[in-house]
């Protein structure tokens, strides 16, 4: 059965998709993760990452379909159209049906894992928030939950309808007013932007996809979300206050600070804050996102 199954246009498509899949599982995400442009424009950077992850999913779906529809001897997209238009013309309909079911399963696996992970985290976060809400009190002016505590902790808990920002009393009392405003604005940006949904998607991709690429993607997206929240904080309190709050929180008092790459990236971005990313930067990333999604589609749709 295998001899002569995969030949001609189907073999070419399968080879193209396999190459694309291996590029998207390793080299491409790792290269984009080392790139500095996404940090200059986090929203476009996240769009690019989203496109890369969907390109990976669609490549895998396409590979499954290309193998299942190989006997038709046509490129992938015309073959799919032909099967939908005239299912009776298939020589082996069972294989095509199995391939279709497998392709649908592959398409659904990352979204399902993402939603399941988000729901689990939302449940845990709601439980924590319920306990903290009784121990502390909601401050309507600051729009957050304040609990007593000696350590300056400010966190955003995941939840279903809303993410709750919880801070300790020490965070409000012990920090400079400007730094405190920066920290609170940073957490608020995470909560209002629903960054928990974004991380849920990339965590799901990392869980479902082997390779160093999705792991690098998850880390890079985490940094981008922090940079985006830092930008919101800098708009409220100024980049200097945000940077100094960041530095004071993670630099140990006795010296000998070895900063993590994520923190360095955030400080570097804050140092450049106020400089609007040039139009070339802002246009490149969406263009790359479009290229990564559209060009394979065009190649697979050749008549």
């Amino acid at each position: 059965m295998t001899a002569g199954w995969l030949e001609g246009p189907a073999a070419a498509d399968a080879a193209l998709l396999a190459v694309l899949l291996s590029l998207l599982s390793g080299p491409v995400p790792r290269a984009v993760a080392r790139w500095s442009w996404p940090a200059a424009s986090p929203r476009q950077g996240l769009l690019l990452w989203f496109a890369l992850s969907w390109a990976w999913v669609l490549s895998l779906v396409g590979l499954v379909l290309a193998v299942a529809l190989a006997p038709l001897g046509r490129p992938l997209i015309p073959a799919v159209v032909a099967v939908i238009a005239d299912p009776g013309a298939l020589s082996r309909p069972a294989v095509a049906l199995a391939g279709g079911v497998a392709a649908a399963a592959v398409l659904a696996v990352v979204p399902v894992v993402a939603v399941a992970g988000w729901l689990r985290d939302a449940r845990r976060g709601s439980r924590h928030a319920a306990r903290l809400a009784v121990v502390g009190a909601v401050d309507p002016l600051l729009d957050l939950l304040v609990v007593p505590g000696g350590a300056p902790v400010a966190v955003t808990l995941p939840g279903w309808r809303r993410c709750r920002v919880v801070v300790t009393r020490a965070c409000l009392d012990d920090l400079d007013p400007a730094e405190r405003d920066a920290v609170l604005a940073h957490e608020r940006a995470h909560a209002l932007g629903r960054h928990d949904l974004v991380s849920a998607w990339f965590t799901a991709w990392r869980r479902c996809a082997p390779g160093a690429g999705p792991r690098a993607a998850e880390r890079a997206v985490g940094v981008l979300l922090e940079v985006a929240a830092d930008r919101a904080a800098a708009r409220v309190a100024g980049p200097a206050a945000t940077a100094s709050a960041l530095y004071r929180r993670c630099a140990p008092a006795g010296g000998g600070w070895r900063p993590q790459p994520a923190t360095l990236a955030r400080l570097r971005t804050l140092a450049r804050a106020g400089a609007v990313a040039p139009p070339l930067v802002r246009a490149t990333m969406p263009s790359l996102a479009a290229v990564v999604l559209v060009v394979p589609g065009l190649l697979l749709g050749r008549a």
């Binding site: 306990r131 809400a133 009784v134 729009d143 309808r161």
Partner: protein
């Protein structure tokens, strides 16, 4: 002309909708009206337990509650919810059960925050904080405060 005015109104409506979608998602994070009605009662019950020197029954808690008077059964339901949250414990003796708070308000708060940080570190709950590197220092500070407080409580006199 009416047509152009309709077009302008339509455009304004679309612009407002887009602006609302972009910025109006969950406009407040901890809107007081969104707090479930149970929380004030649970907080009042906890306040009573924190201020009392020894364990209390549900009826005694109901009598000591500030604000409008509540039935003992309502207080009992709140105490049960607090027990499931790990904030109060029930005595094992016969009925009527006596309830006491787990630690002081500060201890309960420190324990709750520690659980949040540990959940993120050990079980991978996605948690946003300002600086993730500072978690270890915060956990250390909170644990030290809990130990000191426990040491004070256990000292005689």
């Amino acid at each position: 002309m009416p047509a152009s005015r309709a077009v302008r109104t339509g455009i304004c409506w679309v612009v407002r909708l887009v602006a609302q979608l972009r910025t109006g998602r969950a406009p407040t994070v901890c809107h007081p009206a969104a707090v479930p009605a149970r929380e004030p009662l649970e907080r009042a019950v906890l306040d009573v337990l924190w201020q009392s020197p020894g364990p209390l029954t549900a009826g005694e808690v109901a009598r000591l509650l500030a604000g409008r008077p509540r039935a003992a059964t309502t207080v009992l339901t709140a105490l049960d919810r607090l027990r499931r949250k790990g904030l109060v414990v029930r005595s094992d003796g016969g009925r009527p059960h006596r309830w006491s708070a787990v630690g002081t308000r500060e201890q309960a708060a420190a324990g709750a925050i520690l659980d949040v940080l540990r959940d993120s570190a050990d079980r991978g709950m996605v948690l946003s904080r300002f600086v993730a590197e500072a978690d270890d220092a915060d956990v250390e500070t909170l644990q030290r405060a809990l130990r000191e407080r426990a040491g004070e409580d256990s000292r005689p006199g």
